[in-house]
């Protein structure tokens, strides 16, 4: 019995040995290069092997009949071929086609600084936004360390590639922020309304952006808020200028964060030297609430709302003939609401819906004049992205903007009440086509109709990127950009057309091992800029669209987080050549906000033993021009260059307690932003003037951040690191 059993077993084994098929060959990619490690197996069986280091494989199988030979390799499309197994040797050479993957394929980089969470070739990350020493925790301050921007110390706003500050727009989660900056007195620096810690990702486009964005001649800043917080926590921040309490509560697939902030510069200003006489130093209170809710598998609903009140009074020197100093008082109330939903409707269809609402009041009182300004803005947007194939996707959508601006000016002798309401309807579509994983083109167009200006505008946009080597690429971008004239003109006339800028951008980017180099050349052609012709400001006939201008320049950016251990730095340089004839310019001239050379270095170093992050930031802007009405030549005066060396120090005292200190302009460079002049001349025909100075030559901040969680391990490191 036993022997029979053995016999059967033996014969079975020998039968199997007899019918062994040997499949052998080589796995290569299309150009013939071997793919070592490729997975080779018979589908549905356990018979398989891997290609050796030269791409060759030998697969032995005892199976007979028809089977599929499957060959796979990461980054390539798998191949499948039918084989007849009948005990002989089969030779097959397999060629794999490179798989196309949008995530790893080339992306368009012309004009764009993108900060993603998982991308490799990022130029600047969200974390950088808050740790740049000179930024004072301001989003816009941090962006001013990037090329293409010009620092205007008397404004604090973004000036991009020869564009005025109104030419830049800010979007949060897809919808427009009508009033992104705090209200301030003329010639005093402002900052952004939003806490940079709210955002996980930033795209700063300095030109040639997608057809999705309109109503911006120079740049768009796209801020994406944080997704779900990790756990319940309570954050306490005590700064030399204010306090903040924030609490986060999680529930299933959702979370809410509420915060209260109170800032008062009075104690700080009483301790440090100020260049101005503050009667009531800036004081503000903000309450904010944000809600996150996951919907379905991919969807995320976000809601944010805030209410902010602030006020200040500053005593201003009166430079008018015979004038005496007066108090300038400003009170601001800002209500902001933003909601968005992002998600996939199915595998190919993604949707983004967004809405924002702004209600902003400014009440200004100075020298027997009161000015009331109110902006009510609404933005609704829906965009859909349809992925036809991995290589071809189409985005389309519609937008609705409503804006009402009311202004009341009361002077002892006269009162002006003006307002306008504009509705803009816009539609856009854009196709993204990959010719290969190395070559991508985005082509689109945008149509906008404004009911107040009764203007219909079509803006074509085109951008393309070609990857020359594994690590470097060239980009081109071209487009027409329209923007309605500034509110101050629309109050008095609707007989104007939108202003226009045509962008031509050419850029090169190379990224190897945490080192990035970018070079960008651009040319901007401004048309239809609004000009005043010297008539009374309240007459519609005083405004024309006859202005024009240009801006051209070179931007350089170098970032290296590799060479210095625990260190990270970036260097930006911008060369700008721009002239324009707009507003009240008597002739074509360099505008006051433009400086020819802008240079910035940011350095950060982590000192392990000291548990400290040190930061330094040096900035230089070449002298800008300003106009002296006493001089016969327009905009012929030059102000001092802008220089500032800023330092910051973050120290992890305990696992949940961080101390932070920063000082701007440690070297005490004298910075002055030209002079302001009286509107009327004195008896000798001279216009008297006063220097425009920063609020103080240095700014100090000390802070302590405390985080309380159930586990007690989280801290606010992300706030300052």
């Amino acid at each position: 019995m036993k022997s029979i059993y053995f016999y059967i077993l033996f014969s079975l084994v020998s039968l199997q040995t007899f019918s062994q098929t040997v499949i052998t060959g080589k796995v290569t990619q299309e150009q013939g290069e071997a793919l070592p490690g490729a997975n080779v197996y018979l589908k549905g069986t356990y018979d398989g092997t891997s290609a050796n280091k030269n791409g060759y494989f030998i697969l032995k199988t005892k199976k007979t009949g028809t089977f599929d030979l499957r060959v796979e390799f990461v980054g390539y499309e798998p191949s499948l071929q039918k084989l007849e197994l009948k005990g002989d040797t089969i030779r097959v050479n397999v060629q794999l086609k490179e798989a196309f993957n949008q995530l790893t394929a080339v992306t368009i980089t012309a004009g764009t600084f993108e900060a993603g969470d998982k991308k490799q070739a990022v130029t600047i990350t969200p974390m950088d936004m808050v740790t740049t020493a000179g930024a004072k925790g301001d989003v816009y301050g941090a962006l001013q360390s990037l090329p293409g921007t010009t620092t205007n110390g008397e404004s604090g706003r973004l000036f991009v590639k020869g564009g005025d500050s109104e030419e830049s727009q800010t979007y949060i989660d897809g919808s427009l922020v009508y009033v992104p900056y705090n209200s301030t007195a003329p010639n005093l620096s402002t900052r952004g309304r939003f806490n940079p810690f709210m955002f996980k990702g930033t795209i700063f486009s300095t030109g040639g952006y997608s057809a999705e964005y309109g109503q911006a001649l120079s740049s768009v800043l796209l801020l994406n808020t944080n997704d779900m917080p990790a756990e319940d926590q309570l954050d306490l921040s005590v700064l030399s200028i204010g306090v903040e309490v924030a609490g986060t509560k999680l529930w299933k697939n959702g979370a809410a964060t509420g915060s209260l902030t109170y800032n008062n510069l009075a104690p700080y200003m009483s301790l440090t030297a100020q260049n101005y006489n503050w009667i009531h130093p800036p004081e503000s209170a903000t309450g904010a609430l944000s809600v996150r809710q996951k919907t379905g598998k991919t969807g995320m609903f976000k809601f944010y709302t805030s209410f902010n009140k602030d006020a200040f009074t500053i005593n201003q020197e009166n430079i008018e003939p015979g004038g005496s100093p007066f108090d300038y008082h400003l009170a601001n109330e800002n209500y902001f609401m933003n909601a968005s939903w992002n998600g996939h409707l199915n595998e190919k269809l993604a949707m983004n819906s967004a809405a924002s609402f702004t209600n902003n009041y400014d009440d200004i009182l100075y020298d027997q004049t009161t000015v009331g300004k109110r902006i009510i803005g609404t933005h609704l947007k829906n965009s859909i992205n349809y992925l036809f194939t991995e290589k071809f996707s189409l985005k389309f959508g519609g937008e609705f903007f409503a804006k009402t601006y009311l202004q009341n000016v009361s002077m002892p002798a006269e009162t002006h009440d003006n307002n306008f309401t504009n509705h803009t309807i816009a539609g856009f579509t854009e196709a993204q086509v990959y010719a290969s994983s190395k070559f991508v083109t985005r082509i689109g167009a945008r149509v906008e109709y404004s009911d107040y200006l009764k203007s219909l505008k079509l803006s074509p946009r085109l951008s393309t990127t070609y990857k020359v080597t594994e690590n470097s690429q060239f980009s081109l971008a071209y487009g027409w950009f329209y923007q309605n004239p500034v509110d101050d003109y629309l109050l008095y006339t609707n007989h104007l057309n939108p202003e226009r800028a045509d962008h031509y951008t050419f850029s090169y980017q190379s990224s190897v091992n945490s080192r990035t180099l970018r070079m960008e050349l651009y040319y901007k052609d401004y048309k239809n800029l609004v000009k005043t012709n010297g008539g009374e400001f309240y007459l519609p006939t005083s405004y024309t669209n006859l202005g024009s201008g240009y801006a051209k320049g070179l931007d350089l950016f170098w970032r290296d987080s590799k060479t210095i251990k625990n260190g990270d730095y970036w260097i930006s340089y911008s060369y700008l050549d721009t002239k324009r004839d707009y507003r009240n310019f008597p002739e074509t001239a360099i505008p006051t906000f433009a400086s020819t050379h802008n240079f910035s270095v940011v350095y950060k170093h982590w000192l392990n033993g000291w548990r400290s992050l040190l930061g330094a930031n040096f900035k230089y802007s070449s002298p800008r021009v300003y106009n002296d009405p006493n001089s016969p030549v327009f905009n012929s005066e030059r102000m001092l260059p802008y220089r500032s060396l800023d330092l910051s120090w973050s120290f992890l005292y305990r696992k949940n307690i961080i101390f932070y200190g920063a000082v701007t302009n440690v070297m005490g460079f004298k910075n002055e932003f030209g002079r302001r002049y009286a509107s009327t001349s004195d008896v000798n025909g001279n216009y008297s003037s006063a220097a425009i100075q920063p609020s103080s030559s240095r700014f100090y901040v000390v802070a302590c951040f405390i985080t309380l969680t159930r586990k007690g391990i989280a801290n606010q490191l992300d706030k300052i690191e």
Binding site: Y41, S50, K118, Q120, N513, L652
Partner: protein, 213 residues
């Protein structure tokens, strides 16, 4: 006594279910035994290939998918410098983990592996990703421990995370030594459900304990 009975029962049940797939069990066993001979990324890739092949046959089994993912995570750690390659390997691991969570949403080991994967992402660029991925890794390990508080791999990953974060938190990494020693001492008390269930990690704990001396 009750414990022994319970583990015997578990073993029995798993043996019965495995016995229905002798080829699966045998191939998994053979492939797993090759882990000890893996020296470089190419070896792990070859092994990952095998698990991929097995996963392709046994579409309802989570273990081949688990090991496939595990191989690619190890590959990312073995790659010395190229961040793009590291992320490329982790992209493969990520896909497998997504599949794994669908196949076995109540397996402690699955979330322990996910935590390991997040650490892989973190290591690519700690300066930039530290905050986000240490959080994600911590969350995953929390899930793993919630399902099975005794899972030694989950404990190990939690410990590694704590030690990694210690210098940033003002703590001495050595303050975790008693925990590491305890984990090592109890390591063998945890019995994997079968011979092909995850059993890795003891070497790593030994490494930590060695560093304590």
């Amino acid at each position: 006594m009750k414990k022994i009975f319970l583990s015997l029962a578990v073993l029995f049940v798993s043996l019965v279910s495995m016995a229905q797939k002798p080829e699966f069990l045998q191939t998994m066993g053979e492939t797993l035994s090759q882990f000890s001979t893996c020296k470089n990324a190419a070896d792990f890739q070859a092994l990952g290939n095998k698990f991929q092949m097995i996963a392709d046959v046994e579409k309802t089994e989570w273990l081949p998918v688990y090991y496939h993912s595990y191989c690619y995570i190890i590959m990312s750690f073995l790659e010395p410098t190229d961040a793009t390659k590291k992320d490329g390997y982790l992209d493969v691991a990520e896909k497998s983990i997504a599949k794994l969570i669908e196949l076995a949403p109540n397996e402690s080991e699955v979330f322990a592996l996910q935590s390991f994967y997040f650490i892989g992402r973190l290591v690519v660029n700690p300066m930039e990703r530290g905050q986000e991925f240490s959080g994600l890794s911590g969350q995953a390990v929390g899930k793993a421990l919630a399902i099975d508080p005794a899972n030694p791999r989950a404990k190990l990953l939690k410990l590694q995370g704590d030690i990694g974060a210690a210098p940033y938190m003002g703590l001495d990494p050595k303050s975790f030594c008693p925990q590491a020693k305890e984990l090592l001492a109890n390591w063998d008390n945890f019995k994997p459900k079968s011979a092909i269930h995850p059993a890795w990690g003891k070497d790593q704990v030994e490494g930590i304990v060695k560093g304590c001396q």
